[in-house]
Structure formats: C-alpha cells, structure tokens
Symmetry: C2
Subunit: 344 residues, 2 copies
C-alpha cells in the first residue's frame, strides 16, 4: 500500500466523479469497473431538478440536491474545459404540468410543499404554459415553471469522466472489497453485496424518441390521468421519456409500461406521436430504505451509493465531499444525515 | 443457356416457393437474392385467413386466397418432411372481435360480405367469445369465429425453403433483369424497378411480444375504437401484434404507431400489457394499384409479385401456377385475373 492511494469500486457516474475529485486532491486512484453500460446513468434523463423532484418529507435530501445543483455549472464547465466534450448542460428551465383537474390538484399540493422549502415554482395557467412551450397539449389544465431546474446528458458526462481518468479505470468485476488499501464503494445496487448495506435495485424503463430539433424546448415533467412522466429534450432532437419505477431485478421491457409512457407523453405533447421510437432502455436505480443516499464511512470502507433517482444531480456534491473525506479525513457536516450508520 | 434453366430474381417467400416448385419440375434453378431479411415476410404474422382478410370488392382475389389456403396443409407438411423444420402451421382458428358498438357495426357489414362469398364466419356474443378465448377483454361488444382460418410462422417457412434450396440461392443484388435465360421476377417492391410495373411499398410496423405460452390461443383480428389490430400467438409464447399501413418508404418506428398498436392490443386482450416487448419491425409490403398480385408473363419475363398483405397465404398457389407456367408454358385459368398485362 502506497500512501495517498485509493481504490474506487464502481465506474458509474458517482464512482467516476469521486475518482476525478480524488485525483485532483493528489491521490493515486484506480477505479474497478466491470465495463459496459449497466449503470443507472445509462438510462438517466439527466434532470437537475430539485424543484421538480423534491418529494414530501425529503427536506434534508432536498437541501443536498439544491447544494449539488449549485455546483453543476462549474462541474460541467470544468469537464468541457478538460475534455472538449460538451456535456449538454442546458438552462432553459423546467415545466411541470397537469392534464386533468385531479392531476392539477395533486400537483398543487406538491408545488406548495416545494415552495415551502424555498424552491422556485411559479404556477401558470394553460395559455401561459403554451406561450412558453407551444408543443404542449391544449387539453392541459395547468402547470408551473421551475426556472432554476436544469438538465445535462448523463452519457456525455460519463464519456467525459472516462476520458479524463483514462487508464485509471480498470475493467474488473469485484466480488469482494479489496484489502490493504483505502476503498470507496460506489457500486450502485452492487453495494449491497459488497458491504451488506440495504441498497435495492428499482427497475426503470426509459424511451428515447427522435424528431425535429427544437419542437420541444423545456424539460416537461407531468401527470396525465394519474400517470407521471417526464420528457427531456436534447439539442439534437432526441427526447427522453421516463420513467417507470418497479421493485424488480429483471431487464425486460414490459409492453404495458411502453404503452403507459407513450400515452402519457403524447397526452402532454401530442406531436411526440410523430417522433421515431429509437430505443427502449431498462436499468436499475440503487435505492435505500429512506431513498436517500449512503455517504460516508461504513466499517473499513467509505460508501458513496444509493442515490436512487438523483445520482446525476447529486454527482458533484457527492464527489467533492467524499474526496475531501478520503484525502483529508474531514467529514463535511452535510454528510451527517446520510451516514451509512443509520442502517447498521 | 441450358434447356430447362431458370433464374428467379428475389429470395423472399414468393421467390423461394416458386424456385422450389420449379426444381420439383426438373428445372435447374438459380435464385438471385441480395441476402438479409428485408422482405415483407420478415414482419409478416403469417395469418392464412381468407375469411379474416377478404375486403369489399375483392371477390376474385378471395377465390385465389381460398384456393391457396386449401394448398397450405400439404405445403407445410412437405416442408416439414423435407427439412425437419416445423413451420408452425396451426389450426386453432381465428376470432374477429369488436370493442365498441361502432366497431361491431363496421365488423358486421364485413362479416356479411364474407359470408356472401361462402366463407365460414359465425357471429358470437361476448360470453361465447370468452368461452373460446378467456384472455379477451370483458368489454368486447361482439365477434365472430372463422374456424377455417389458420396461421403459420413465415420466418420458419423461409428457413425451410432456404434449407431445401441450399446453394441454388446466390447472394447477388440484381439491378437489371438477366438476359439469355428464362427469368421469374419475384422481387417484391423491387419489381417496379426491374420491370416498370406499378408495385409500390406499403410500410408496416409489427411488434413482437413474449409471455406465458398458452395465455392466448386463437389468432385475434379486431377493431378497437376504430383502430384495426391483429394478434397472432405462437406456441412458444410469442404474440405478433400488427400492423400499420402507410404509403411510405422509410424504416422508422413511429412512436404514435407503437402506441396505437399497444393500445388496441391491450384493449382487446388486457393481459398483453404484462408481456415483454421484444421487437419492433418495419418492412414494406409490395402492393399494386388494385392490391391484387401480378402473376404471369410481362414482356420477356414472368412476374410473381405485388402480393401486398397476402404473400404468405398466396405462396403455395403462386408457386404451383408459376412453376407450371415456367416448366410447361401452361397458364392456368386462375391466373387470368392477375395478368400483369392489366397495367400495361
């Protein structure tokens, strides 16, 4: 063991971001990853949306999301500067919309909660919504604008991080935690097997559509007859449609879920029916019993896992705080609420 | 040129079946095909359904369909005997169903026409339908049983024909009709380019679902809120869901069409929502101005093309009659109505 050495187990967006920040702190880093694109990031739409994602009772998690959202512009700019890869950080803002009166009533309760946390959410009527986003259905009953919510393309972020780390990422399946060296376990759902901590896979299906660029401009998150869907348009005409949540480990693309996603997507934005369906992707989010991440020491290792739906958003703050902990042994007070010890 | 030689241009189900019958008549046959699975047969569900397919005004075509349906049992048995490949010929019969009262009114007009042609179509009420096929939705307003309609697996039929023909199938893209040898043009939509005859591509999208074998037993062809869909269950749990019709040449999978097919399929058979969506396939049917095939001499060549939705059903009769014409110069009277000359 060399002083200043660390092994990161897991080459998803969290493991790679942690490794990058560790390198920047002067550590000799090796990332062990089984290769491929099995990580949740591969299906992630890349919404950076504290105001669009904060759920009831998640006050503390929301604080961490806001903190990480604030670090994203510099994180994205630094990646672009070091690699020349534009990671698709986009600041158009997010619309949350409701198709029916019932959907609107449900949404309004959530918006009120989010405003109580200090998040920017401005209710809008149907015509104001369509002024901002003409592709929205005229049937919508209402919505809200979250001007501070953002998006990024997770596949590009991973490509940039892999480019920076180069040979430091070693293709290796890890069946037990390496001995004799400081280790960060950032293995997503695989963290359960390596550490015994309660991280479970939550299956998600995402569709990728492709059409005319610019038809849809904002990220749209919405409810259509009780079904939740989000639509994330990229600059090249791709629109990500997500995402189902199931407590299952299989990788099958269920016909009824494709139907539900397409129906909700076209209910909210009818022109999407004319787009091409170019990909159906199933991946598994790593979730914990309270759906907040595991960040910090657990026995002999440091854990950075269990980010559930928020891995992309939380990557910058996770990377900074975990790298500080590894390099300097300093646990930031922000980590307190997310200690793996809460499940031991 | 050798006496008794013939070149077949096109290695889809029609070209291969014609070639097989020509070999059996003592001819030296070469099939020129560009390889791959671009043919309409690759997406075809394989319904052998004169009673389920006969459209208004298609009396003469329906006679040919009935004739070919009668030849299918021997055709399938002979393929199995020569190759050991079970081509999935199934005699469970077909149900045509209607979701709403409007769908039922439309269906009843078509059933009356089909009965007037002598086809077996027995109307059934909702409960009788569900006695035959318990997976059908209780919302259905009515249906009919076509006990003589059948199905076969077109991909297996092509595999069997390719196995029989072996080296006689040569991978070659044909840009003009070969000279100095008798030629059968069976090139699907490509027949237009080679002969100048009016064959146009009609784009079709088919979905393949997979689930528990035996959940659905009958071929189901139906209307759901004005959308037509058919569901063809295979013995292994696969269910083919088809098919859209568009006058387009592209190969894109349109999101709205996937939505329409899945919605109609699950409206008629709700349990299909739990099946896996394993494939989306686009291919182009070769259609003529009157949607009947082109069978017979056209200038220096013999044509067997333009079978539109009925290529699989019409393969046996097409193969027999065209091979007779090639080998013995005898045009069967059944061919009269389908002469390519009607468009010259």
């Amino acid at each position: 063991m060399t002083a200043g050495e660390v092994v990161v187990v897991g080459g998803g967006i969290i493991g790679l971001a942690v490794a990058w920040r560790c390198v920047q702190r002067g550590l000799a880093v090796t990332v062990h990853d089984d290769g491929g694109d099995d990580g949740a990031w591969y299906a992630a739409a890349g919404m950076l949306a504290p105001a669009g994602e904060a759920g009831f009772g998640q006050d503390t998690l929301t604080e961490l999301m806001v903190e990480s959202a604030g670090r994203w512009p510099a994180f994205a700019a630094e990646l672009a500067r070091e690699t020349g890869i534009d990671v698709g950080y986009d600041s158009t803002g997010t619309l949350t919309v409701a198709l029916t009166a019932d959907d609107l009533a449900e949404a309004q309760r959530l918006w009120a909660y989010r405003r109580s946390l200090g998040l920017g959410v401005s209710p809008l009527g149907p015509s104001a919504l369509r002024d901002l986003e003409p592709a929205l259905s005229p049937r919508l009953r209402g919505g809200a604008h979250a001007p501070d919510d953002r998006q990024v393309d997770p596949r590009r972020v991973v490509a940039a991080l892999r480019a920076i780390l180069g040979d430091a990422v070693v293709r290796r399946r890890v069946d037990e935690v390496p001995a004799g060296v400081p280790v960060v376990v950032a293995a997503g759902s695989g963290t359960a097997r390596l550490t015994g901590l309660p991280v479970r896979p939550v299956k998600g299906l995402v569709l990728r559509l492709r059409g005319e660029p610019g038809v849809l401009r904002h990220v749209v998150s919405g409810w259509a007859d009780g079904r939740h869907v989000y639509l994330v348009p990229r600059a090249d005409g791709e629109v990500i449609v997500g995402a189902t949540q199931e407590e299952r480990t299989d990788h099958t693309v269920t016909a009824g879920h494709v139907l539900d996603l397409l129906r909700a997507a076209t209910d909210l934005v009818p022109v999407l029916g004319e787009f091409d369906l170019v990909e159906t992707v199933v991946r598994h989010r790593p979730a914990t019993p309270d759906n907040a991440p595991l960040l910090g020491a657990a026995g002999d290792v440091i854990v950075a896992a269990g980010h559930h739906r928020n891995g992309v958003l939380l990557a910058p703050v996770t990377a900074d705080l975990i790298a500080d902990l590894v390099a300097w042994g300093k646990p930031d007070p922000l980590l307190d609420a997310f200690s793996p010890g809460r499940f031991v």
